[in-house]
């Protein structure tokens, strides 16, 4: 093939990164002042296509460095090193209400990064790019072991940082949507924590018996993790999101079995029957379902389900009894749970009980409910399998958040969560918790 002009050079470092690592995208060999679009394309496991792009102008050396240069427009603007990932959105014409989640963590997420001539906003699939590279984003670091767990009737997956060595243990609980969601546990293992991802909404045992799990199920999961020969039994923690945080509050305060060095509760509320089971919590929320409403786009807003915050102590997990450090991550634009109000109430309860020195609240303006690992695309609303009047319905649910600020929250929260876990689980830590 004859060459008429200089070929464009594109590189991304690292080309195989962990999901929470930054990358540097560098375009070279274009004419100085050349206008170009840097574009990212990802096809998710469901077969949907997601894309992001930024508009750049090459400098006097004929180069663009996404980490340092300004995007003049596109799906993100400004100096945004990771904008090509966090601003990913479904391509035009996609089905509404999509959410990007990697269910198979043993393979990487593949993103094709390309350079197009000019400042383009559409029609990328119809034109050939000037150059493309493939970037891999991994949830599992090399050496991390993935072990399905069915012991004790559990539906769970254990991730060990490596096949040998001793590690702290973290129980990982997602929200009311169910399924066995592994990616956060895999990433925690890649960062040195033995992590157990637990399905508690749709485990095999519930599908067989038609019954929701009781709190003993979580205690079994905790015990299985703690007793694993590679887990340090005195260095245990829980991380929960949404309903998973509710469960975490119950366990850390009322369980005789569960002793933690620390806990992280993301987008969670303590408002629920104190010491109750998941079913009791969901029933309580159902009884308040009159508080939900729909916005002009017909998106379900659930934040009022726990409002007003009750004064009756039987309706709140008694955080005044906590004996271990607690990190709360709160999105101030959470439209699904009233997490800001709950956090304020928890702080008051702990101040009254004298244990508020254990509490850290990370509160993010304009962040929504789904505070995920960094650089994950922001989902403002999506189709969600919800429990309404004791049955399950799929509804377009509003999670909230503005994309730029939500993405900053994800990046900042993850870094702080890892530091919190490192200090409490790898460091000296405080005394072992006793909840008697």
């Amino acid at each position: 093939m004859e060459g008429k002009k200089r070929p464009v050079k594109l590189s991304v470092h690292p080309s195989r990164g962990l999901v929470d690592e930054k990358f540097t995208v560098l375009v070279q060999n274009v004419p100085p002042g050349f206008q170009l679009t840097v574009h990212a394309l990802h096809q998710c496991e469901d077969g949907h296509s997601w894309h992001a792009f930024g508009h750049y102008t090459a400098d006097s050396t004929g180069a663009v460095n996404v980490a340092e240069d300004l995007s003049l427009g596109g799906t993100y603007s400004g100096v945004e090193q990771m904008g090509l990932l966090w601003s990913l959105r479904p391509v035009p014409g996609s089905k509404p209400g999509l959410r990007l989640r990697k269910m198979n963590v043993q393979t990487p997420m593949e993103v094709t990064v390309s350079v197009f001539r000019g400042h383009q906003t559409e029609g990328f699939e119809d034109q050939g790019p000037l150059v493309s590279v493939v970037v891999e984003r991994w949830y599992m670091a090399p050496g991390v072991c993935r072990i399905p767990v069915t012991e004790g009737g559990l539906t769970a997956t254990l991730f060990l940082p490596s096949a040998s060595g001793l590690f702290p243990g973290i129980l990982d609980l997602w929200g009311g949507g169910g399924r066995l969601v592994e990616y956060r546990a895999a990433l925690l293992a890649s960062r040195g924590f033995a992590s157990l991802a637990l399905d508690y909404m749709t485990p095999k045992i519930s599908l067989e018996t038609g019954q929701m799990v009781e709190n003993e199920y979580f205690e079994t999961a905790f015990r299985v993790l703690q007793q694993h020969p590679q887990v340090l039994s005195s260095r245990m923690a829980i991380v929960g999101l949404s309903l998973g945080s509710s469960v975490a509050f119950q366990l850390m305060i009322y369980s005789q079995v569960i002793k933690l060095r620390c806990a992280v509760c993301i987008s969670g509320s303590h408002v629920q029957p104190a010491g109750g089971s998941v079913k009791q919590t969901l029933d309580y929320l159902s009884r308040n379902s009159g508080n939900t409403c729909f916005n002009e786009k017909n998106e379900l807003i659930c934040r009022d389900l726990v409002l007003p915050i009750p004064t009756d102590p039987k309706l709140k997990a008694d955080v005044g009894q906590l004996r271990c450090p607690l990190l709360l991550v709160v999105g101030e634009d959470d439209q699904n749970w009233a997490v800001s109000e709950s956090a304020v109430d928890m702080k008051q309860m702990m101040e009254q009980a004298g244990n508020s020195h254990l509490l850290t609240v990370l509160s993010y303006p304009n962040a929504g409910h789904l505070i995920e690992p960094p650089y994950s695309p922001h989902t403002r609303s999506s189709n969600f399998r919800s429990s309404v009047d004791n049955s399950f319905v799929v509804l377009k649910t509003l999670w909230g958040g503005e994309t730029v600020e939500h993405s900053r929250a994800q990046e900042d929260a993850w870094r702080k969560i890892l530091t919190f876990f490192r200090e409490n689980l790898y460091g000296r830590g405080s005394a072992l918790v006793s909840n008697l």
Binding site: H13, R16, S114, P142, P168, R235, Y426, R428
Partner: protein
Amino acid sequence: MMQQRHKMNMQVAVRRLGSAGGVLSVCHGPKIHTVLRRLSAKAQSPRPILSVAPIRALVDEKFKVSVENLPPAAPVTVHSLHQSEDQDCWEAYGHYISDHRGTVSVSEDLSFGGTYSGKEPMGLLWSMRPVPGSRFGLRLRKMDVCAPMLVNITVFSGHEGFREHAPLASVVTERWHVAPGVQRVEVTIEGMRGTLFIPPGLGAFPGVIDIWGGGGGLPEYRAALLASHGYATMALENFALDDLKGKNLDLNYFEMALDKLKNHPQVISDRVGVVGLSLGAIFLLYLTAESPTFKPQCCISICGSNILSNDGTLNGFYNSMFRNINKSRLDENNSLIWQDVGLEMLCDPTSLVDVGKINCPLLLVSGTDDQSWPTPKFADLMAQMMRSAGKEHLVTTLAYPDAGHLIEPPFSPHFRATAFKVGGNNKKVIMLWGGHTKPHADAQEDSWTKILTFLKQHLYSSH
């Protein structure tokens, strides 16, 4: 402190009993776990955290290794271990002292001994050598480039006798020759094998022909790496030195390969260069100067020489090179030195190619401690020929002090002498390549950067 020592002693006991990397429960039964975990439950002291970033990288990318949560001012050893495709174990290690926060940063801190010393961010790779007890004359080369090289990085307490202690922490890091999306395509030309590596995307790309030395076979790793840098690169099978003898074949095979690459739909035909090492470089220099059809955009010779084949056949090369084979000698370890065999040729213009006929940019890389061939002198001679032909602006000479013959991609271990097939009948001798480890590693790192810049300048940028 007492508890920490207790726990570490238990870990040592467990480690001695069991296989490395095995899950404890599989090897040791429940009783030991109870004891271990009871000790662990009591232990309140911080646990070390070892991190390597990036954890997956191309082989020519640097990484940062750091350890946190150590006791302050603690002597520790950071160790690397790799099991090669031939099942040999290679290792490197550096002795460090943590700072007041209990942190060691291999990129920033000094190593006080081990297989490397001083501030050496990549010492854990380039200073690797076979573990004690290994066979002599080993060489580390990745033949399957589609799978990564796995390196275990471990931190131990102490300096002397660190191996007697249980590891404090360990991670596995991957080093890749191919970037994601690089395609590998097997090709044949005149019955000889080649492998084409194409960068991801539609292209078209600048191209490179890549030829190794007289060991024969088809090492793909440099070509794979070049493709990861945006060049459609074809690695060509080269003849083993022994195979040259008696062969009346000419170098037409290489000419056809260059043509084939230029005409590939994903290659920009007027942006194709060539790179060769040792015998590969000899062929490339000959063809670029003498062949009317072999016209690369640029030519890189790594430890090559401008040897002439009087009849253009492989046999002709053999005769030229080994006319003075009686000048070869053995060193104190019985390793074969061919340096003097080549020296004789420098004085005889009838055995040399006039590289002044070359019309493209030429990069000549050599090591001043090359014991297998006097390549720095050949490089000087070639530069002189270019100057005489008024082409000084085309030639760049890089002669690396104390580097040897096998100048490979960066962070590869250095091989001063390795087993090499010579003399027919699959007989292997130990060939002295020369070089001293640290300067050789520097040469590999620096020359690779300059090779990439040279290729980018002449294949991506110009015209």
